[in-house]
Assembly symmetry: C2
Homo-oligomer: 429 residues x 2
Amino acid sequence: MSYPKKLTEMNREELSAFRDEMQAVYDGYKAQGLALNMSRGNPCREQLELSVGMLDVFDDHDFMSESGIDVRNYGMLDGIPEAKKLFSDMIGVGEDEVIIFGNSSLNAMFWAVQTAYNKGILGSTPWSRLDKVRFLCPVPGYDRHFKVTEFFGIEMINIPMTPDGPDMDMIESLVAEDDSIKGIWCVPQYSNPDGISYSDDTVRRFASLRPAAKDFRIFWDNAYCIHHLTDSPKLILNILDEAKKVGNENIVYIFGSTSKITFPGAGVAVMGGSHENVEELKKHLGISIISYDKMNQLRHVKFFGSFENMCDHMKKHMAIIEPKFRLVCESLSREIAPLGIGEWTEPEGGYFVSFNALSGCAKHIVQLCAEAGVTLTGAGATFPYGKDPEDRNIRLAPTYPPIGDLKKAMELFIVSVKLASAQKLLAEG
Amino acid sequence: MSYPKKLTEMNREELSAFRDEMQAVYDGYKAQGLALNMSRGNPCREQLELSVGMLDVFDDHDFMSESGIDVRNYGMLDGIPEAKKLFSDMIGVGEDEVIIFGNSSLNAMFWAVQTAYNKGILGSTPWSRLDKVRFLCPVPGYDRHFKVTEFFGIEMINIPMTPDGPDMDMIESLVAEDDSIKGIWCVPQYSNPDGISYSDDTVRRFASLRPAAKDFRIFWDNAYCIHHLTDSPKLILNILDEAKKVGNENIVYIFGSTSKITFPGAGVAVMGGSHENVEELKKHLGISIISYDKMNQLRHVKFFGSFENMCDHMKKHMAIIEPKFRLVCESLSREIAPLGIGEWTEPEGGYFVSFNALSGCAKHIVQLCAEAGVTLTGAGATFPYGKDPEDRNIRLAPTYPPIGDLKKAMELFIVSVKLASAQKLLAEG
């Protein structure tokens, strides 16, 4: 059975018949009692196995950092030198421009916002003392970013995404005129959830931003910097290098982690930026901790040896998850495209496929899937305050389920999209 | 040569002769070019070796928590159940009254203060919105506690210590009348640096505190809860149990860690309190992190198996460090006591010996030691704002140096005390 006709071109009778047919198919899935999860960007078990060798690196009982410090003990607030080397390469900063954190870059970002909020940045007024503080949020984006700014009562402004990255005209104009705008959340390589990599022009314009607020910072969450799904990835420009070229190196805080390189629960997170930014942040950091887990830092260094080896390691991840992304995109192309009831990105890296349904359908689709046993990221989660103004966007996370489960989950997702779309068009009609 | 006479009983001539003799001895040490460190409570290498077996617990490649979660992946914000069991036993709370953190209890404390400061506690006004926020600080105390409250601009009030714990009369009276007083820092078992364990009466009075501020919390840093230096330790009362008896269970936040049980750089930190406190804190915690390092949690659980085994493990630590404490106390008894130029505690646990010199001598003694190559904790560090009003207190940390080095460092310390004291008395005379 095929539906070469777009749903919007069907008459009421055709649409009703389609709706009834989809309801029956949907009910069939519901009867199966599925229990599948596509909600978060979790690596699957096979991916976790790739790094288990890391647990043997201390079999020689050599716990000395090249600095002469025993990594089991206290000290080295900002990380051991060999970890600084490895991870500064990863996020594209110098070894003196980096701080190594614990297992969570989200925690590093929260801490950086907290620091600006409570203590200010390089002598500026702490954000907590200002009447209004605002952040720009390219949408759709990462829900956990938005929750951090919401926690501090920071007002969030939606910025539309384009295929080249966030709308730079809008950003440049807003930050130039409004000094209450203190930051922007960015996932520049394979954005979450769109999978968009910022163009060279976009990165250069970010690097050259001259905001009214001197304490404006770009929160550059390069979470997927080496998380490619093709053999010939296009890398974004190095924003710190570009910013230095125009004498603007304090504009950006850069974040990264090995959560999706080694272990999500036990990786290493890292933050980088200009020497001036990093030196100030280190002073504050020493109040909140003596040192992060240096054993885990050395574990990573010993396991990888070099950044090149880390990049090679990512090819093993690609081999496991690329077929899952292909399955998602191919089934959407086959089943949804001809009906004209959805759009999506075909990412070349990262962890998500961003699906846009007909307006007003996203919540309903997610609910239909939930009621039939497939958990998706909540509709609206990809927007500040959980409010998708058009109720369209759904983030699909294909990495975690085994491919058989993913196939089944996508079948249910697709029938839910069809059913919800038909109901929507009939209700409007 | 012996000096049975107290320095305060010497005449000027005797004192001058003594000073000259000590100067010569001191110069002799200085010429040796020592480079020793007694500044921080770092475990020594032998102590670190005690827990190296923990690195082999995953040799079976079994990474499943009893909850069915793979500890390598995301999730379990507040910790895996088996870690909650182990560490709730350690700090004396229920398994539903605990949050497992990363490697740093200081970080957990910073976060808890940050949360109260930015979001308030159980509906109260965030501390950041108040004109004045104050904390009580038993002195001498832990410098890193004081730095946290200083970071947030919280005014600190010194509370004298007694052999039974902080001066409870003063605390009860202050908190009853002043609702700007929001908290107190406590190290109840083997206090830092005095090594004082709070009496049962002190714990009960803390548990029964009825502060004017509803959002007052006791920050009960039970850092040395099982860190005994005797075979028959006296344990403090369980404050949460006592608080429950009087319907006051929200009064206390309890902290602990394995920093000095397994690895200072790679242990597990924990926080406990009433169900109501913990539930609210978990909601905030989820904004700042997805999960802490659950592999390290399971590593600890598999290594110890039970809290009883953890306590047995501490006896191995005691065997290593008790002789170091004995050396410090015996050399002070032998060399300083007869001269009447210092007082100190003889701790039955914890990590420090607290030495009180003649008033006005602490900075000078620390400087003399530093100039001859022995680093001590900075004088004043044990007081808020680094200001010891009497310039008397010096925190000695005997655990880290090998015993031969410790002996040499103590020799230098003792001659520095003698020299500084004689110079002081001569200058006054």
